[in-house]
């Protein structure tokens, strides 16, 4: 959708994924999830707020289109488990919503928009631990931009995006930003 919007909105930002490319990446990830989990039996997609939640819903819907039944989907707020809480003023909490039959014995796929340092995912693993004991935990991200600070790797990646540490990646989604695209820009703009 980016191409259809007037440029000034993203001044200084370079579009690296268009709406169409995001759509295709999510379809591919949905197929990969089905393949890796042998038809998606017992999977729960947990999105990490804010944008991960919408991506998880889209993936669930996509899986529904391919297999007939949408995958269970929820959200997982990791704020209380972050290791960088004391570096910033206290943040508002986001919604944690787990499907009614929980995560015990399930294949949980964590869904986030950008994978960067890996600290959010570490916090998510801790938060998940408080909710139950999944059989396996996997990770799906729309963009992997590198610069990991922890030994964490995504199972499903929409796009590997080589970036410099100082650059910023923004994911815009129709549901909250009014359009779909991924932007790359310099910090402090």
């Amino acid at each position: 959708m980016c191409a259809m919007r007037p440029e000034p909105v993203h001044e200084g930002w370079k579009a690296v994924l268009s709406g169409e490319e995001i759509r295709r990446a999510l379809s591919r990830i949905a197929h990969e999830i089905l393949e890796r989990t042998h038809g998606g039996e017992g999977i729960v997609l947990l999105g990490i707020p804010t944008r991960g939640v919408y991506l998880a819903r889209r993936l669930s819907q996509r899986i529904g289109e391919f297999e007939g039944t949408p995958a269970s989907v929820g959200s997982l707020d990791v704020t209380m488990h972050r290791d960088d809480l004391r570096l910033r003023p206290a943040r508002a909490l986001q919604r944690t919503q787990v499907p009614p039959d929980g995560v015990d014995g399930k294949t949980v796929v964590l869904v986030d928009d950008v994978l960067f340092s890996g600290r959010t995912i570490r916090a998510a693993l801790d938060a998940l631990n408080d909710l139950g004991r999944p059989r396996t935990v996997q990770l799906a991200v729309l963009v992997d931009r590198g610069h990991r600070e922890l030994p964490i790797r995504a199972d499903y990646v929409g796009k590997n995006l080589p970036t410099a540490q100082r650059e910023r990646v923004r994911v815009l989604l129709e549901e909250i930003d009014g359009q779909d695209c991924v932007l790359l820009g310099e910090r402090d703009q």
């Binding site: 707020d77 809480l85 570096l87 206290a90 508002a92 919604r95 944690t96 787990v98 909710l131």
Partner: protein
């Protein structure tokens, strides 16, 4: 949010909504979360110069569920009994590394004085007849849970308003949230200059009842009454007590609140306290959640010096 929580008036509408929303998220996590690691390594001191079960245990539970270390310090059987001043006690606790001090004190203004002496955060858990902000927050949270919203909600606070810090904090907080508050009390227990408060005042309980969404009954505080404010308990009960007959005057959806501890048979009849409309037990449960939200928002983030 301010550095300390001394008065409900310190909180802006946005602050209050942030606290209530945070509490709502904490409460919504479907299954009981055993413990959150958020305040690990921080120390919360409960400094209580007055008897309290509900508030102290509630703060203790809240701090512990966020993994903070809790030190309980009650004046009875401590160095205070030997004549130590509040300042010296505070400095002692400070030296032990208290990141937050939750204080209850019989003197109005003690928590504010404390903020001058310690570098940690101070939370007022009730000071004399002044304020009890976390009680007001949990009451607001309970009203929102039961009735949906606070804007335009008609809240009637009944009883010993003169001695009630709960009433003061509630009037301020509920006014911030846009509720319409009416105080009902015998003339002897109505504070001076109540006209200056952001609420109405009335002496006629039955008329107010008919148009209330929330009735908040206050405890008759025998321990703070140095003079005869009303002739007999029986007369008080007849004019300002909430019994089943009076409860029937309330609109269908209205709820009955009481901050506890109750004097059953004085300001509230047992059958009212145990009815479906009563939120008394819910208020206690919400107390822990709301205090978790307060402690998280005060201690969880970076300590910004310029607030």
């Amino acid at each position: 949010m301010n550095r300390h929580l001394i008065s409900a008036a310190d909180l802006s509408r946005d602050d209050v909504l942030l606290i209530l929303d945070t509490a709502a998220e904490l409460a919504s996590v479907g299954r009981p979360i055993r413990k959150l690691p958020t305040l690990r390594g921080l120390t919360v001191v409960n400094l209580f110069y007055e008897d309290s079960t509900r508030t102290r245990t509630s703060f203790e539970a809240a701090a512990k569920r966020l993994s903070a270390d809790v030190i309980n310090f009650s004046a009875k059987g401590s160095s205070v009994a030997k004549g130590e001043s509040l300042k010296d006690t505070a400095l002692t606790l400070e030296a032990m590394g208290a990141d937050a001090i939750v204080i209850r004190h019989p003197a109005s203004g003690a928590p504010l004085r404390l903020t001058n002496w310690v570098s940690g955060k101070v939370v007022n858990a009730g000071d004399g007849t002044h304020e009890h902000p976390t009680q007001a927050l949990l009451d607001a949270f309970t009203i929102r849970q039961r009735l949906g919203a606070l804007d335009g909600t008609r809240v009637t606070i009944v009883g010993d308003v003169l001695h009630s810090r709960v009433a003061r904090s509630n009037v301020l907080l509920l006014a911030t949230l846009g509720a319409e508050v009416t105080l009902v009390a015998p003339p002897t227990l109505m504070p001076y200059a109540v006209e200056a408060w952001p609420c109405k005042a009335s002496y006629d309980f039955d008329t107010e009842l008919r148009k209330s969404d929330v009735v908040m009954m206050l405890r008759v505080q025998q321990e703070r009454m140095s003079a005869a404010y009303f002739p007999t308990v029986r007369e008080y009960r007849r004019r300002y007590g909430l019994d089943a007959g009076r409860m029937a005057l309330l609109p269908e959806h209205a709820i009955v609140m009481h901050p506890g501890p109750m004097n059953r048979g004085v300001e509230i009849a047992a059958e009212v306290a145990d009815s479906d409309r009563s939120t008394i037990v819910q208020q206690v449960a919400n107390g822990v959640t709301v205090r978790m939200a307060v402690l998280y928002l005060m201690l969880g983030g970076a300590t910004e010096e310029a607030a």
